[in-house]
């Protein structure tokens, strides 16, 4: 059994419990959110001991050299001496606008003095311990504001608070944007396949507009899936883009009650039947974890290179710990 040394305390750790959970069980307040290695809220430093590779996945070279690691992804193999790094950086963002895109998807526009690539995500904090990640649909310069699409859950700790307590003009606290779901010029020679469920459209809308804005000439295929037609959004805007750019195609998909200009069925099946050879394609997948992970595997098996698949599973910390 490996031992963890944190401040003056010594804790026992079994390899199947994460450092984050071990510290939480012992009563230490370590910030965390996604518990899936995505938001980086749980960043810790190993002053001694081996850091398993998984615990540093997605960290920058600088962060790795500082021996930082993600507490929620660290299953110790040796004794470790751990400390909390200098407070992770958050900034203030002012709410400019709040409107509804569907019956339960909110659109927030924020003014924040930070930079990002459309499609990255930020973490929005209600207080020091309750934060949730949201992806960015807008461009920092072209749009000048940060746009988020947030699904409201009736008992959602963050989304309900936003819907009921937060008003235009309020200052919100957000983490610096991160993540690798964005367009780069290095893909200018590749066809793009983008597929999402629900608010997974937020980052993909950002990526599509950025790619078109950068003059991407190869095909861009966007599949946006929802349960029923009234849960689809930005349909009009996307149809307009389709009319403007001949290489861009928008395919709305519904599980049920599809209208004539939509496809009906399961997103994963539709994609795997239609794209038999994805060699050379760049693939972006966002939204429900189940759909994203299935698509990730399908697309890989059908020829896309692992490094060409960007998958943001919208993990929910409560669903994971349940």
């Amino acid at each position: 059994m490996a031992k963890l040394f944190y401040n003056a305390d010594q804790l026992d750790s079994t390899g199947d419990v994460s450092v984050l959970d071990t510290l939480h069980s012992a009563g230490f307040l370590i910030p965390s959110s996604c518990r899936a290695g995505l938001c980086h809220a749980c960043l810790l430093r190993a002053d001694e001991g081996d850091i398993p590779a998984l615990a540093q996945k997605g960290l920058s070279e600088t962060e790795k050299r500082q021996r930082l690691f993600l507490g929620c992804q660290c299953f110790p193999v040796t004794d470790m001496k751990i400390s909390t790094p200098d407070a992770s950086r958050t900034v203030q963002a002012r709410l400019l606008e709040l409107s509804m895109l569907t019956q339960d998807v909110m659109r927030l526009r924020l003014k924040a003095d930070v930079d990002w690539f459309p499609g990255q995500y930020t973490t929005l904090w209600k207080d020091a311990s309750l934060g949730r990640s949201y992806s960015i649909a807008s461009h920092p310069v072209r749009d000048g504001f940060m746009e988020l699409h947030i699904k409201r859950y009736p008992d959602g700790m963050l989304s309900r608070w936003l819907a009921e307590q937060v008003h235009v003009g309020h200052e919100l606290e957000i983490s610096l944007p991160r993540g690798s779901c964005f367009y780069t010029e290095t893909s200018s020679h590749q066809p793009l396949l983008l597929a999402c469920t629900g608010t997974g459209l937020a980052p993909l809308y950002g990526v599509v507009q950025d790619a078109l804005g950068q003059g991407h000439q190869r095909p861009i295929h966007l599949f946006a899936a929802a349960g029923t037609p009234d849960q689809l959004y930005l349909v009009h805007e996307l149809r307009l883009l389709e009319q403007t750019y001949s290489n861009f195609h928008y395919y709305p998909v519904c599980r049920r009650n599809a209208q004539p200009n939509m496809q009906e069925g399961d997103l994963v099946e539709l994609i795997s039947n239609r794209y038999k050879d994805l060699k050379g394609w760049k693939v972006f997948l966002c939204g429900s974890p189940m759909a994203v992970k299935k698509l990730q595997k399908k697309c890989f098996l059908q020829g896309a290179s692992m490094s060409d698949i960007h998958a943001d599973a919208f993990e929910s910390p409560l669903a994971r710990s349940a």
Binding site: G15, L54, K293, K294, K297, F300, L301, M306, S307, A311
Partner: protein, 118 residues
């Protein structure tokens, strides 16, 4: 120059992981061991495996290999043979010479007893 450097280091591992992992997932003999939904996590471990058998830097001990595989039910020699076979095919596709392939298979083979927990 070490075997790992000769093959091209981390870049070689990155090139090999795509081909190797696709073969593993498509192989009925062993795919069920790798079928977890968390592909990113699996990819990290595939890289660890390839780095190790390429003779690259790693901290794995025989004990780690025992620990890391003992939860895989029914693992036996045929599975190790399959992994080594797919590894060989992968390296061939990448243009690695027969001598180097034999050396890499040898490294994989050297932990057979640990992996099979005997």
């Amino acid at each position: 120059m070490s075997l790992y450097e000769k093959l091209g280091g981390e870049a070689a591992v990155t090139a090999a992981v795509d081909i190797f992992y696709r073969k593993v997932l498509a192989d009925d003999r062993i795919s069920h061991y790798f079928d977890s939904v968390d592909m990113d996590g699996q990819a990290v471990k595939q890289k660890a495996f390839l780095t190790m058998v390429f003779g690259g830097p790693n901290n794995y001990t025989g004990k780690d290999m025992r620990e890391g595989h003992k939860h895989l039910k029914g693992l036996n020699d045929t599975h190790v043979d399959a992994v080594i076979e797919l590894l060989g095919e992968t390296l061939k596709e990448l243009g690695v010479g027969d001598d180097d392939i034999a050396q890499i298979a040898g490294i994989a083979n050297s932990v057979r007893d640990d992996v099979l927990n005997r």
